[in-house]
């Protein structure tokens, strides 16, 4: 009975949707800028999982190539974002995202 069940692409897509939703709730709820960044990483990973699942379903390596580029851009994004966070928190320790309204017009 159980042995005949195989996880299909749909399972992977639903798991990715759950991961994306959790990351999105985290971005909306948390106030520590570092944790916000981690939640963005969760959302990026959910999209990567979708790409890989669809690459296998369609038999197309292009999805995996896209994930490769997403990883490169994510690495660059984390480096720049953490640089900004370090620059902000060095000047104002213990700042949360609610305090960072300096760019507001």
């Amino acid at each position: 009975m159980i042995a005949s069940i195989h996880p299909t692409t749909t399972w992977y897509l639903i798991l990715a949707a759950a991961l994306f939703s959790i990351g999105m709730v985290g971005v909306m709820v948390r106030r520590n800028p570092l944790v916000l960044f981690m939640c963005v990483e969760l959302m990026l990973n959910a999209v990567n999982l979708t790409f890989v699942a669809m690459a296998r379903k369609l038999g197309d390596i292009g999805g995996q190539t896209t994930v490769f580029f997403v990883m490169v851009v994510a690495a660059a994004e984390v480096v720049v974002g953490l640089g900004i966070i370090v620059a902000i928190l060095r000047r104002r320790p213990n700042a949360t995202t609610d305090d960072l309204a300096e760019l507001k017009g």
Binding site: F37, V52, Q64, F68, V78, G83
Partner: protein, 187 residues
């Protein structure tokens, strides 16, 4: 059977880690939960025949990015717990939960509806046949490299420019201003 077992365990890792990231009030704990999620995603990559990406996932994400997070947490000394009881806007969390559940429901509905949709395959396949018949063990890397260095070679070169710009920009952001520039930056 084995595939089902791997999927269930990896999915539990992914979801447990993700929930850990958003409910742990200590940033270090959140980063460690993130590692759990990233490893679970790497396992799912292997289950989906993306061996190279699984290795990159572990090395780049779990190895480099999370270490960078932890490094920044330690560097700034912000590794004290955040009080999660504070809710700046009164109805923020119920609204966030409702939006999250709504997006999840929408995506799942789209996935289920389009489950049987026919799709045209236009790109190169995942499998690389071995010369003597059968499949190559490192076929995934070969297929990925062939696609990357033929169809997407310009984008691949542009990523190097992106990385250099990111490094230079971060150094500019993170350095301390010199004495002469102090007034200008304080103004």
């Amino acid at each position: 059977m084995m595939e089902l077992f791997v999927f269930v365990v990896a999915a539990a890792m992914v979801l447990g880690g993700a929930v850990g990231v958003i409910v742990r009030n200590h940033p270090v704990h959140a980063a460690l939960s993130l590692i759990l999620t990233l490893f679970g995603v790497a396992v799912l990559f292997v289950a989906q025949q993306a061996n190279f990406l699984a290795a990159v996932q572990v090395i780049v994400y779990a190895g480099a990015i999370v270490v960078l997070f932890l490094f920044v947490i330690m560097l700034l000394g912000v590794d004290r717990a955040e009080n999660l009881r504070v809710e700046p806007f009164k109805v923020q969390r119920p609204i966030a939960a409702a939006v999250g559940v709504g997006v999840f429901g929408l995506v799942v509905a789209a996935v289920v509806v389009s489950r049987e949709a026919r799709t045209a395959v236009t790109g190169t396949g995942l499998e690389v046949p071995a010369p003597g018949g059968g499949q190559l063990h490192d076929g995934n890397i070969k297929a990925l490299a062939r696609d990357l260095f033929s169809s997407h070679v310009l984008a691949f070169e542009l990523t190097s420019v992106l990385l250099v710009i990111a490094v230079v920009g971060t150094v500019m952001l993170a350095r301390k201003p010199r004495k002469g520039e102090m007034q200008e930056s304080e103004a």
